[in-house]
């Protein structure tokens, strides 16, 4: 019996199909340890070796990794939520209620999406704090810090655009408060400094056509805003953020792996 199992195992592992998928064995050799990383499209964002102190949690707090982890959670739960949610003012709130009370695991999926988003904001803040405190933005990692600041901004924007989607009182008033700020943009917001002068000259920077109406797709936070924020939240910002994350992780590796005493 044992021999038979071994025979079968051998046949599978030596088959051309198996070999086409898995390029190397699993025996614990230094070569295989490196191949595990180097021949895996996801893992190879890591270097195949790293400095020992990069493993310590008191150095990294695992903050960057957890930020990415929470991003992945929001992607998975977010796709699930998209099956049940329509970004239309008439339906959005009812879809939320339906999701929470009628869909199996709807409530917990929504909770995980919401809390993972909050956790991502907290972790990205902690990550920036840790990177600053260890001076990891110093040469040769200057540019990766810049990418990181952009990612922090995108994280906040992702969270903010998602805030509107439940279409309840909390949503629209928080977004009203937030987008009202754009109204005060110098020269480009209808109530900002120099707006009157710019409007008189160009016809732009009126309440209908200013920095705020660009965000809200109108003069108030209404149905067009909901659609605009939905597209930004589900498509535009995640794609840009994912691209920058690829650059960010790649640069960690290319700039000499995790920072440490020079």
């Amino acid at each position: 019996m044992k021999d038979k199992i071994q025979d079968i195992q051998e046949t599978i592992v030596k088959s051309s199909v198996w070999k086409s998928v898995f390029r190397h064995g699993y025996a614990d050799t230094p070569r295989n340890r490196i191949l595990m990383v180097a021949s895996n499209v996801f893992l190879h964002l890591h270097p195949s070796k790293l400095r020992r102190h990069g493993l310590t949690l008191r150095y990294t707090w695992c903050a960057g990794g957890l930020t990415f982890f929470f991003f992945l959670v929001t992607v998975v739960t977010g796709v699930l939520l998209m099956f049940y949610y329509r970004p239309v003012a008439e339906y959005a709130y009812n879809d939320m209620k339906y999701l929470q009370f009628d869909i199996p695991f709807g409530m917990v999926t929504r909770n995980m999406h919401r809390w993972a988003a909050h956790a991502m904001v907290i972790m990205v803040m902690l990550h920036m704090f840790r990177v600053f405190m260890t001076g990891s933005y110093k040469p040769p990692r200057e540019f990766n810090w810049v990418v990181g600041v952009l990612l922090l901004t995108l994280t906040l924007l992702l969270s903010f655009t998602g805030y509107l989607l439940p279409w309840d009182q909390l949503s629209i008033w928080a977004v009203t408060v937030g987008t009202n700020m754009a109204r005060a943009t110098p020269m480009l917001g209808a109530e900002g400094p120099l707006a009157e002068q710019v409007a008189a000259l160009t016809g732009v920077a009126t309440p209908r056509y200013d920095a705020r109406s660009l965000l809200t797709a109108g003069t108030v936070v209404g149905a067009p805003t909901l659609l605009r924020f939905y597209v930004l939240h589900c498509i535009f910002i995640p794609i840009v953020a994912a691209l920058l994350m690829i650059v960010h992780f790649w640069r960690v590796r290319k700039d000499g792996g995790i920072s440490g005493p020079m």
Binding site: V37, M112, T134, Y137, V146, L150, M181
Partner: protein
């Protein structure tokens, strides 16, 4: 380690630069465990606490207070002290740009890759002040201590939407006119010139300090005039917030500069 043949080949001091381990399994294992623990924590959090869902959106019913999401409440808190064009647009933009230029203005080569306070006191003190006080602490104030009318409420106080707060804020030029008896300061043109002069004098510290110190200070020479100018500008702009806060708390100052013709107040 396998190819070390006798004891003499074992290095006595471990050099952190060359002391390397394989990513698989050492790092991947830690990432997996961290992810697993985080997932468990998130799941428990999501089972215990439901995400909020209030009444349907109603543009005719404005709640009091209307709060932005918690991570923006630091900015909303700045609105108490500055007009929206500053609190909502200029300062946030400068925060983002200011963060991005940090690696290019900090020329101190020390403290790269390890925790240290002694080797980079100015950088660490500044960042901690901005991060912990002007960001985290203001968020805490905005989340927990602000109630109806954006008035201050201690955690044990009930949110009374009829709380009467005397509006005693006064513009700087009026305050000075009252103090000195110089009625010319009440004239809006004089007040505007005076206010802009004050702000100009504040930023004039930058070249004056450079003139006085650059020849003797090694740090300033290493920085050079451009990097110094950017650093000093960002630093003074950051400090404008606590200065305005203190002026508000002590003297009830509303505006320092007023240019009503172009709708610009500071």
């Amino acid at each position: 380690m396998a190819d070390i043949k006798d004891a003499s080949e074992i290095p006595e001091v471990i050099d952190p630069k060359t002391d390397k381990v394989h990513t698989w399994p050492h790092l991947v294992r830690i990432e997996f465990i961290c992810g697993l623990l985080a997932f468990m924590g998130l799941l428990v959090w999501s089972l215990v606490l439901d995400a909020p869902l209030e009444e349907p959106a109603d543009p005719t019913k404005t709640p009091n207070p209307s709060k932005a999401p918690w991570y923006f409440l630091g900015l909303q808190e700045i609105l108490v002290y500055f007009d929206p064009w500053m609190a909502g647009v200029v300062l946030p933009s400068l925060i983002i740009v200011g963060l991005m230029v940090i690696p290019y203005i900090d020329v101190n080569p020390k403290g790269n890759g390890y925790y240290t306070w002694k080797e980079r006191k100015f950088a660490v003190a500044n960042f901690c002040f901005g991060f912990l006080i002007l960001w985290v602490a203001l968020i805490i104030v905005g989340v927990f201590l602000r109630g109806p009318g954006w008035n201050f409420f201690a955690p044990w106080q009930e949110w009374d939407s009829h709380k009467v707060v005397a509006l005693t804020n006064i513009d700087l030029n009026i305050l000075l006119a009252d103090w000195t008896g110089l009625d010319a300061l009440r004239n809006p043109v004089v007040a505007a010139v005076f206010g802009m002069g004050l702000v100009g004098a504040y930023y004039a510290i930058i070249p004056i300090y450079w003139k006085l110190k650059s020849k003797k200070s090694k740090i300033l020479q290493e920085l050079g005039p451009v990097r110094y100018g950017i650093t000093a500008f960002l630093f003074l702009t950051m400090m404008a917030l606590p200065i305005k806060m203190i002026l508000r708390w002590t003297l009830n100052i509303k505006y320092i500069v007023q240019l009503p013709w172009i709708n610009l107040n500071i």
